[in-house]
């Protein structure tokens, strides 16, 4: 996925580029704001992130120019919070409108949402994970080991999901709690321990022991 950034603030441009590259996107940032439509024509990105207040030109006008060329999705980023501005952005053909200062996870989620909406083919996220014979099936919300099955709660599943995503690495408790909050599960450190204990009990009940390793000060690992 190729994202084109139009942002006049050098620091924000740089950091946004790092953020998106960390999220596995290919990123091009515009250095000059003349002939933006030419630059877009040559780069052919999948999505454009655009600041509204640019030196000499308004992002809304650029959006109108882009719309004359293609249907590339455009997300506006702006410090302005007026309802009128937001309306303007949508009317000019923007696909989303995000106000500064934005939350990185929220920004990424909204980029993903716009891409999903506009791309015909999107790579499916893995929904089944296996390690040492233990299978986490996300759609079924269950754990399988040989023929045995243990049903998981939503919270337990999210915890296991993150651990499976970081297979072989230690995931700190803090990272886990933050990940859960990002997924709208608002729990604290102690409750996390309770959930992990419950997961271990369930693993034991289907005949798996010592599946999750704990290390003091490091976190959990599978």
């Amino acid at each position: 996925m190729h994202i084109f950034i139009i942002e006049d603030e050098p620091l924000i441009r740089r950091e946004l580029k790092i953020l998106l590259e960390n999220a596995m996107y290919q990123v091009t940032a515009a250095d000059s704001f003349e002939n933006i439509s030419e630059q877009i024509k040559t780069n052919l990105p999948d999505l454009v992130l655009m600041d509204v207040n640019l030196p000499g030109i308004s992002g809304f006008d650029i959006c109108t120019q882009i719309r004359e060329l293609t249907d590339i999705p455009v997300i506006f980023l702006t410090g302005r919070t007026d309802s009128m501005d937001e309306l303007n952005g949508i009317l000019k053909g923007g696909d989303d409108y995000i106000t500064k200062p934005y939350q990185a996870p929220v920004l990424l989620a909204r980029i993903a949402a716009v891409l999903k909406r506009t791309m015909a083919h999107n790579p499916k996220e893995a929904t089944v994970f296996t390690k040492n014979g233990v299978t986490l099936d996300i759609p079924k919300c269950s754990l399988f080991y040989r023929q045995a099955k243990a049903e998981l709660t939503k919270n337990e599943m999210k915890i296991l999901h993150l651990l499976f995503l970081h297979e072989g690495e230690f995931v700190s408790r803090m990272e886990l709690v933050e990940y859960l909050w990002e997924n709208h599960i608002f729990i604290d450190d102690n409750t996390l321990s309770v959930h992990v204990t419950n997961i271990r009990k369930k693993l034991n009940s289907i005949g798996v022991s010592d599946f999750i390793e704990t290390k003091r000060g490091m976190g959990y690992c599978i």
């Binding site: 620091l11 924000i12 410090g79 919070t81 309802s83 009128m84 939350q103 709208h184 604290d188």
Partner: protein, 340 residues
């Protein structure tokens, strides 16, 4: 205007008449004029004087009553100069002219102040938009380094402080706008759950650091402006964090009743003293908690109440001191817009 006051006011004139009467009386006596005739002249004089005074009194009274009525009817009393009734008296006309001039200068001054205020407001708004760029820059820098072990904690601290700045900046913006909510108000069908999650998400770092648990159950939808509700909710949640106790839990719920939807934010924090409960929405009020705990500006809840008033939303507080606080936001539903 009472008659006695009027007579007192005309004291000098009466004195002049009395002196004149006396002089005439002495002169006529010296010229051996008939005493009964003198008495007749003086009585006649007195009757004329009394009649003249009475008529003048009636006229003046009518004139001032008219003026008072004008003052009562108009909402801009400084416009009196324009509205004064016409009068044949020279004095009245002179006063009218002077009041007119004085009012004109007042109006000019008011206009000037209004313009200055508008200028200032516009500046604050543009300033807020400017400052959001560096705040965004800082938050992105922190976000990109949150997994680098060596600097992890420092960036977390910076990130938390940055969030505080962001909130103070937002407060300034909403304060500047609170007078003219209607100019920036977009009513949409809003999922309260979405707003609640957005606000909790925004304060994730702070809440996790304070070991907060949040239990939310918000199914209901309301018609309102999302941005303003998010701002209000943000203040309520920040307050709950500020005045927390051991193992804080926030219960955020919505409930649909006959006349509206209620959004409650309940915590198990320090609570508010009963004698202070009625004053928490006042501007600049910092209760015992506010002075004891962290710095409190006394602006957060004041702004909430102010915005709620402008949007026709109710906001109340219930609290048991030492047990917790429950903030209630009420979205009234009128019958003709609640189609679903």
């Amino acid at each position: 205007m009472k008659l006695t006051e009027f007579i007192k006011d005309k004291g000098m004139l009466l004195l002049l008449h009395i002196v004149c009467m006396y002089v005439l009386f002495v002169y006529l006596r010296l010229t051996d004029y008939n005493t009964s005739n003198i008495a007749l002249i003086l009585v006649f004089w007195l009757v004329l004087l009394a009649a003249w005074l009475l008529v003048t009194y009636r006229q003046r009274k009518k004139y001032f009553r008219e003026m008072e009525q004008i003052l009562e009817k108009t909402d801009r009393r400084y416009l009196l100069g324009e509205l004064l009734p016409d009068s044949f008296r020279l004095e009245d006309r002179l006063y009218k002219e002077m009041i007119h001039r004085s009012n004109k200068s007042v109006i000019e001054r008011i206009r000037q102040l209004e313009e200055e205020q508008e200028d200032y407001k516009e500046y604050i708004e543009s300033w807020v938009h400017e400052i959001k760029a560096p705040i965004t820059g800082i938050s992105l820098v922190c976000e990109n380094r949150r997994h680098v072990p060596a600097v992890f904690d420092d960036f977390k601290t910076i990130s938390l402080e940055n969030k505080k700045i962001e909130n103070y900046v937002d407060m300034a913006l909403y304060y500047a706008r609170s007078k003219e909510v209607y100019k920036d108000y977009m009513i949409q069908k809003t999922s309260l759950k979405e707003v609640v999650c957005e606000v909790l998400d925004k304060n994730r770092l702070l809440l996790i650091q304070n070991r907060v648990q949040a239990d939310i159950s918000c199914k209901d939808m309301v018609y309102t402006d999302k941005k303003w509700i998010a701002f209000i909710l943000n203040q309520l949640i920040l307050n709950s964090v500020k005045y927390k106790k051991e193992s804080p839990v926030f219960y955020i719920r919505t409930r649909r009743a006959e006349h509206g939807v209620f959004l409650t934010v309940e915590d198990n924090g320090t609570g508010i003293r009963p004698e202070e409960l009625s004053r928490i929405f006042e501007k600049g009020f910092t209760g015992t908690n506010g002075r004891k705990e962290e710095r409190s500006t006394g602006m957060g809840l004041y702004l909430c109440r102010r915005l709620c008033d402008k949007m026709g939303i109710g906001i109340y507080a219930e609290s048991e001191y030492g047990r917790g606080t429950k903030m209630i936001v009420e979205f009234p539903v009128s019958n003709y817009i609640s189609r679903d």
